[in-house]
């Protein structure tokens, strides 16, 4: 697979690893935050951490749209489906995220709500077209990457006069989140308000940047003095970006560099940006799970498209979402805690029984630690013993 296989070359990886090992200053630590869940996933799936010198550690950022969606928004989506009887269309990632009272979209579906997994906003439009008697609500989530497809669907719906289609908009913007993380981590020189783990460098968003370009991250070195490298999602991309950050750090400079030049420019995709500007407007503030209410950090359906706004068409009560006690997702999402620092990790919280969103998405840090990495981690003993007790198996065929 072109543009994939080349960037997963194990031989190149070993040589790049040697270079990184050679270039790091053994007298200091390098704490690099990968913003995106895509990076987190790659790091664990390919075992990238194994190839890094011990003093270079990845901190996992909030870049998993599923993980940062506040519970209350899922509660609202379920309420729309159950109270208004709408057909709720959702990307599969969201199905198992715990909402209040440990409900999930999957459970709501099992209980009779009409919830459909889609793979594209086009699927939601198609359902609206063929099932004219039903109100179809697209449960739209995601960063700037996933927003333009929602924008296209809105335009199409209006052009076709689809009166039974609307969007429950939960699209969020990455720069405000990054700003919050850095401010909170004390990277601006002040006291971090939620912790004091300074970050030495940022692996910047990959596919988000194909849309918005790298320019929106230039405030990071300017205001926080922290270097940024826009990094692709393949494991060699991640490693090369780490090397680029090490070099900036070693040189004492801080700028935005672009490792992912094959897809990202400084200005991004102008057509997509224009579509987003037409169909969405900014929200004054929006809650990010773990980060709190951040100003200007999310989008709403634009006034010109208000008739397609599910929040207006199907009003439901908005609550606060009752988080599960003991879940450290908020700190994990800010890079303050590792998943294994959470008391629930592995003992109560596992991917099939998740307490927080970070354990659901394969891009969530907790799920990545659990599924790929628990061989390696200090507190994993609990987790392992939580998994199997003693011998003798149970297999799918030997049921019931």
């Amino acid at each position: 697979m072109r543009y994939i296989d080349e960037f997963r070359d194990g031989a190149l990886a070993r040589r790049l690893a040697a270079t990184i090992a050679a270039e790091v200053d053994p007298s200091r630590d390098y704490r690099l935050m990968e913003f995106c869940g895509g990076h987190t996933h790659a790091i664990f799936r390919y075992g990238v951490q194994d190839l890094m010198p011990p003093n270079l550690r990845f901190a996992h950022g909030p870049g998993c749209p599923v993980c940062v969606l506040p519970m209350a928004r899922i509660d609202q989506a379920i309420a729309m489906a159950e109270q208004h009887g709408v057909t709720l269309c959702t990307y599969g990632d969201l199905m198992r995220v715990p909402a209040s009272g440990r409900r999930t979209l999957l459970k709501a579906k099992a209980d009779g709500a009409d919830i459909r997994m889609i793979y594209s906003t086009q699927d939601a439009l198609a359902i609206a077209r063929t099932e004219a008697g039903r109100q179809v609500v697209l449960f739209a989530i995601g960063f700037e990457t996933t927003t333009p497809p929602t924008a296209v669907a809105l335009k199409q719906a209006r052009a076709e006069g689809l009166r039974n289609f609307s969007v429950f908009c939960n699209h969020v913007l990455t720069p405000p989140a990054l700003e919050t993380i850095l401010a909170a981590s004390g990277n601006d020189g002040g006291d971090g308000d939620i912790g004091t783990v300074a970050l030495d460098g940022i692996l910047g968003p990959s596919h988000v940047s194909t849309i918005i370009g790298s320019r929106p991250y230039e405030f990071v070195p300017a205001r926080f003095g922290t270097p940024v490298v826009i990094a692709g999602f393949e494991p060699l991309d991640v490693m090369q970006s780490a090397l680029m950050l090490v070099r900036q750090i070693n040189a004492g400079v801080a700028r935005v560099e672009n490792q992912y030049t094959r897809a990202v420019t400084r200005d991004g995709n102008a057509r997509a940006q224009a579509l987003m500007a037409e169909t969405f407007g900014p929200r004054d503030r929006f809650e990010w799970r773990g980060l709190g209410h951040l100003p200007h950090s999310a989008l709403r359906v634009a006034d010109a498209y208000a008739e397609f706004d599910a929040e207006q068409r199907f009003p439901v009560a908005t609550g606060n979402g009752r988080e599960i006690r003991g879940c450290e997702c908020p700190s994990v999402l800010r890079g303050l805690l590792e998943p294994t620092d959470c008391k629930l990790f592995g003992s109560v919280c596992t991917p099939e029984n998740p307490m927080g969103a970070c354990m659901v998405s394969s891009e969530g840090a907790c799920a990545a630690y659990w599924s790929y990495g628990r061989l390696r981690h200090g507190r994993a003993g609990d987790a392992i013993r939580g998994d199997v007790d003693a011998a003798a198996g149970s297999n799918a065929e030997a049921s019931p």
Binding site: R2, R14, V208, N269
Partner: protein, 81 residues
Amino acid sequence: MCLAIPAQILDLDPATDSATVSLGGVRKSVSVALVEDVAVGDYVLVHVGYALNRISPQEAERTLALIREAGALDAEAAPGA
């Protein structure tokens, strides 16, 4: 969530603003409403059924060259070796 895959355009249908792309022999129809001036043969990044962006072959080659160059230093010092 931000999963996006490079795939090659096999043909374009301007009427529906869509294209058939191929990834390792797998064909899929995607919307090209978000990309300007793509042509058959181009590689695009596909995300939730949409082409997000063209991939630049030159830049890809340059990145690989940089990686090879960086890795040429000293293969023996690597922990994974």
